[in-house]
Amino acid sequence: MTFLNLVISGAANGVVYAAVALALVLIWRSTGILNFAQGGMLMFTTFIAWDLVHLHGANYWVGLVVALLAGLVLGAVVERVLIRPIEGGPPINPVIVTLGLLLLLEAVAGMIWGSGVSSFAPEFSLNDYHVGHQLILFSPDYLFIVLAVLGVMVALYVLFQHTPIGLRMRASAFNPEVARLLGVRVGRLLTLGWGLAAMVGALAGVLIAGTQPGYINPNAFDGLLILGFTAAVVGGLDSPLGALAGGLLVGVIQQLLDNYVSIDLDSFYTFVVLLVVLMLRPSGLFSRTAVRRV
């Protein structure tokens, strides 16, 4: 039963990693850029929600919605102002720019809210469920997390597969030149894509912030970014379903190692998992083998 419980709670954490992975995958698919600033962006939007809820007495849901909107705007602005000018340059440039943005956002958050730790109270209880006398490592808050992330994934699926704007977004990711010739405003759709991705990231930030007291801090989300990246790589970096599978797998592996080996090495496991996956299948476990362009 312990093992099953660990799998359940690992998978529940993994759902949040999957949301971060999805935010990375959405941008990677459309621009071929890995957004290292995602950890900083979702940290910043989570702080905005925390500020509203805990310093200004706003309702939890108001905080959540504002965080999502802030994510949308932040993502769009980042694409427009920082990413557009370096498009088509050496692939190392976006890596450096997004890392610079990560540092900048962390520093600005530290300037505004200080570098100490704060707690974000979750809307739902963190007390675990009981089935009969058996404790299940799953709480109402985690149920909400799972439903929220899965809901967003379904919404994005519908948006991409069943709406005209989704079709245009897929077209401009698939072949920007041809899409532009057919009258698709590729630039605007890229901006929208970055906004949507950052919104998914913002959701992940607010959700995970409530799971532990004292979670929020300008640097607290570095680990979440790495976990999301690992989940995305495990899933093949270009598939949203792969991101979900990768997130669940990473969450479960992390929970099992934490429990059966030692929790002290928590951040080291991520490196090991990433190393093993990349050594065995550099293009991810769930992706079709891709030919590298040279």
Binding site: L103, E106, A107, F268, F271, L274
Partner: protein, 342 residues
């Protein structure tokens, strides 16, 4: 003169000796505080020079050089802790060991890195930078690596009653000059040309008989060794090492220094290191002058690194050294065209 033109080794050697002589003479007139700053700049130069060779010459990126500094620092920490009374001659061996151990670690990561491209490589080295400093906290390693409290040890005493801070500056300056000398030679050698060939076109490089993977692993190993030496020097001047002394922001500030100076140029690594090392002090002074709150002042350097990385990439992709070279070229052209105009 022509011998100097032909022999890179001789030219770089003379330059290094002159530079070192001037620097060592300068430390005489500096205050203890300035000497400590100089030592810290020299430490940063070692790490940034290694990173700029890796990224600028071989085209790989590493966000994990802070982790290799961690390896070097703990190597020195363990050696000095278990061998109290190490003298200054033996310190050279201890520092060489820090570079060597980090090089081995770098080689291991390099094997994985050689298969990876751009963002994948950046991601895994970032995971390394976050994960490796967790090792001392592992319960089975705590006894050996000191856990949260880190390692405390005594660095060798200065020889012949020399001022302690001046001696620290000497040790670090010698380390930095030796690193720069070796990297400058490497960059002008067959190996350096192989790095550039692999960076510019992997297929052409392999058609020309280079083993791309081997060249990339070598570049990664060299860069890790430099970072290891930097970590070792860092440990020597601080007398202690802590797991919390090697956060991700350390690795990213190294990258910022390399980008500020101009990727791939060793003189750029020096400018970049000076900026990154002195920035916290400047921001402290600035914050005092404008009486900013503590939390603004403490985060100001990191904000400058971040903004500098972004603006550097958007506006000055060649960094400071790119600007210096442009001015140099303009001046030279002006001199050359003058006689023709007359």
């Amino acid at each position: 003169m022509s011998l100097l033109r032909r022999s890179t080794l001789l030219r770089n050697g003379l330059l290094a000796l002159c530079g070192l002589g001037i620097m060592l003479a300068v430390t005489e007139g500096l205050s203890d505080y300035r000497n400590t700053q100089l030592a810290n700049i020299a430490v940063t130069v070692c790490a940034v020079a290694g990173l700029t060779v890796l990224t600028g010459l071989s085209g790989q990126i590493s966000l994990g050089n802070g982790a290799f500094m961690f390896v070097g620092a703990y190597t020195v920490g363990l050696l000095l802790m278990h061998n109290p009374g190490t003298n200054n001659g033996e310190l050279v061996l201890v520092l060489a060991a820090s570079a060597l151990v980090a090089a081995v670690a770098g080689g291991l990561v390099g094997v994985a890195a050689a298969r990876l491209r751009g963002p994948y490589l950046a991601g895994i080295t970032l995971a390394l930078a976050l994960g490796l400093p967790a090792l001392p906290e592992y319960s089975h390693f705590q006894g050996k690596l000191g856990g949260h409290a880190g390692l405390n040890f005594l660095a060798p005493n200065p020889p012949g009653g020399m001022n302690f801070f001046r001696w620290q500056a000497w040790v670090c300056l010698i380390g930095a000059v030796v690193t720069l000398f070796l990297l400058a030679n490497l960059s002008r050698s067959r190996v350096g040309r192989a790095f550039r060939a692999v960076r510019d076109d992997e297929i052409s490089a392999s058609l020309a008989g280079l083993s791309v993977a081997r060249v990339q692993i070598l570049a990664f190993t060299v860069s890790a060794a430099c970072a290891g030496l930097a970590g070792g020097l860092f440990a020597v001047i601080n007398g202690n090492v802590l797991p919390s002394g090697f956060p991700i922001s350390l690795s990213l500030s190294l990258l910022a220094a390399a980008v500020f100076g101009g990727l791939g140029t060793l003189s750029g690594a020096v400018y970049g290191s000076i900026i990154v090392t002195l920035l916290p002090q400047w921001s402290y002074d600035l914050a005092h002058a404008f009486s900013m709150p503590d939390r603004v002042q403490l985060n100001l350097p990191q904000a400058v690194y971040g903004a500098g990385l972004i603006l550097g990439m958007l506006l000055f992709p060649l960094g400071i050294q790119g600007g210096v070279r442009r001015i140099w070229a303009l001046g030279r052209n002006a001199l050359r065209t003058k006689p023709a105009g007359n």
